[in-house]
Amino acid sequence: MFRDKGFTGRLFIAPAIQLILLPMAANYTIKNINIAIVDHDHSVTSQKLSKKILSSGYFKLADYTDFDSKADKLIESDKADLVLEIPDKFEKNLIADNTQKTGIEVNAINGVKASIGFGYLSGIISDFNNDLRANWVQPERTNPLPTISVVPSFWYNPLLTYYIFMVPAILVSLVTGVAGLSAAFNIVKEKEIGTIEQINVTPIKKYEFILGKLIPFLAVGGVVFTVGLLISWALYGIIPLGNIAVLYLFLYVFLFAILGFGLLISTYSETQQQANSIMFLFMMVFNMMSGLYTPFDSMPGWAQFVSHLFPISYFIDVMRMVVIKGSGLHDIRFHILCVFLIGIVLNTWAVLNYRKTS
């Protein structure tokens, strides 16, 4: 295993780099939204509104102009995500008619960005509106209209940072990748090179053979995971709230399952290229459907069911629960059980298959 020079590099450097770079990229907090403001009014009010929008920290000004067409071009060329249009005689009409409309155009290709961006903007406008009213209207002693305020409190992650959500999950993805690929490669490489026949003639039993391949990889998986944890602590300050031993326990059950999967694939493929492609395909699918990047609960029922057959979805969930919320063994009992069962099925299948194909 260590004879392949690239191996140690891949083992440590690749995951390390990814763990450092990915969470920085995978930051989905919506900010730095480019807004173009078309101000036909140029009154004190419209300028105050613009100022308020820009000082909120969510928006960057793409352009402040008097021309609709210019703003439209900005959306088309992706230089602006939003256009706010303040009509002519805005201030005057607001005072005279008590009501005014502002036009907002949003590039809605990215639905989440659009709705969050619009949410920020309308929140700012309504704050501005309230301030305006407070200044222009004589306040009464009691609240004239019933108001219900919604008071949010954000547990476990009060600063709403995205890192703590992504880093553990990305670590899972990496461990899976390294472990899974290495497992699949190993047997197939031997098949290709031809050393398989040599092993076949030894008196070693099939399951002993597979076990012999399994154990070094379990060790390797554990090492990658530990390195990952250290990096997340050093770079991102993430310290698991829950019990680390619980994490390791789950890790080993998980590795057992993943390696079973890798071996299974390798028993089905004849060439490394094949093993690669299949493994890769599955990894892509697993990664996307596991809840890593997109919310698990938003998937339709059938997708959730399928995702429940993959160990990775469980691991990502467990990581997030234990690290961020401090969940304990009791909370993840269902997860551990499922992954263990999946592991048994995969490994048994691999062993049976191996017998058949040789």
Binding site: D4, G6, L22, M24, A25, A26, Y28, I30, K31, I75, S77, N98, T99, Q100, K101, T102, G103, I104, A108, G111, I116, G119, S126, N129, R133, V137, N143, P144, L145, P146, T147, I148, S149, V150, V151, P152, W155, Y156, L160, T161, Y162, I164, F165, L181, K189, Q272, Q273, N276, F280, M288, T294, P295, D297, S298, P300, W302, A303, K325, G326, S327
Partner: protein, 345 residues
């Protein structure tokens, strides 16, 4: 296998994956049990965003439920909710959110806030609040805020890039490993021809894949091609050539199939997924990553595809991106040719 891959991706992204939030499990702790709280709870239950369960839970029970991952949010109504509302015209609702996923927590809280404001407005329908600014919003290109328009161009980029780069790189390295490379070189075929011959099957395959993806997007996912189809195909071919060139480059650098695979994956899959801008917005990333994203071909292609497919724009808007892609293709090819020749000596 190589056909199944793009189809699976499109199916996944089109039907299964989305950033929209739905069916979030929430608990409503109704300490008031009065008319107003009931009406608001009805509204919450009627919303497709939430799966509402009513239960009286103490904070530690809420904590335990969060820890088991059973619920994402708890809405707590204080005991005198309606009375406060009627007599003081002021009441408050507490929302406790599991913020381990900050975006979900914020978005769900926003939904609840807007449902509550709707209710509030209903309570006094005739009141004319003075000096009201009404924002009128138009969502462009994707008025239903669906996930597919955002993902499809990204999937196109990913599939084309990954298939081409990986397959090409592995296939050349395989020859090296098997030792058949020497045989090829002894033949009178020029090195350039060898490379081209390896690349062409994948070129054709990718074009076919591209067509399948486009067909699926237009007919199954309702993501139209608003602009010129020919331009789209042309740009895609350019991307495919760039990807093939990159695959060749990787194959000249690596010596084992495993490394070729790994390099393609590391060099292509992750940066493409993350830095091309389709899953995560590029402007959110630290400056360093924004700079790096400039060398990811997928990033430019994604902009091009969005412009043509979703906005219906013409070449004048994307000439810059096209130029970048073309120069990448040339650069990679030149580099791999040079490497190839050096290796032979």
């Amino acid at each position: 296998m190589l056909f199944g891959f793009p189809i699976i991706q499109i199916v996944l992204f089109g039907f299964a994956l989305t950033n929209e939030l739905k069916n979030a499990n929430i608990v409503v702790v109704d300490n008031a049990k009065d008319l107003a709280s009931q009406q608001i709870i009805d509204k919450l239950q009627g919303s497709k965003f939430f799966n509402v369960q009513k239960e009286i839970m103490t904070p530690s029970a809420i904590d335990a439920a969060f820890k088991e991952g059973k619920i994402k949010l708890a809405v707590v109504f204080p005991v005198n909710f309606n009375t406060d509302l009627l007599h003081l015209n002021k009441a408050s609702i507490q929302v406790i959110a599991d913020a381990s996923d900050p975006n979900t927590a914020q978005t769900l809280t926003n939904y609840i806030t807007s449902i509550v404001s709707d209710y509030q407005a209903q309570l006094s329908p005739t009141a004319q609040i003075p000096y009201t600014i009404h924002p009128e919003v138009r969502m462009l290109y994707n008025p239903d805020l669906k996930g597919a328009p955002n993902f499809v161009p990204g999937v196109m980029a990913m599939v084309l890039l990954l298939v081409c780069v990986m397959m090409t790189s592995v296939s050349i390295v395989r020859e090296k490993e098997m030792g058949t490379m020497e045989i090829l070189l002894v033949s009178p075929v020029k090195p350039l021809m060898v490379i081209v011959a390896k690349a062409i099957p994948y070129l054709v395959l990718s074009i076919v894949n591209l067509c399948v993806i486009l067909l699926l997007s237009v007919y199954a996912l309702n993501v139209p091609v608003k602009g010129s189809l020919i331009l789209l195909l042309g740009e895609s071919t350019l991307l495919i050539i760039t990807a093939l060139a990159l695959g060749l480059l990787i194959s000249t650098i690596t010596s084992s199939q495993q490394s070729a695979m790994f390099a393609s994956m590391l060099g292509m899959m992750l940066p493409t997924m993350l830095l091309s801008g389709y899953l995560f917005p590029i402007e959110n990333m630290p400056f360093v990553l924004q700079v790096i994203s400039n060398i990811v071909p997928a990033r430019w292609y994604y902009v091009i595809v969005k412009a043509i497919m979703l906005k219906g724009l013409g070449f004048s808007f994307i000439w810059k991106e096209t130029l970048v892609l073309a120069s990448m293709a040339v650069f990679f090819t030149a580099l791999s040719l040079r490497n190839f020749k050096i290796r032979l000596e």
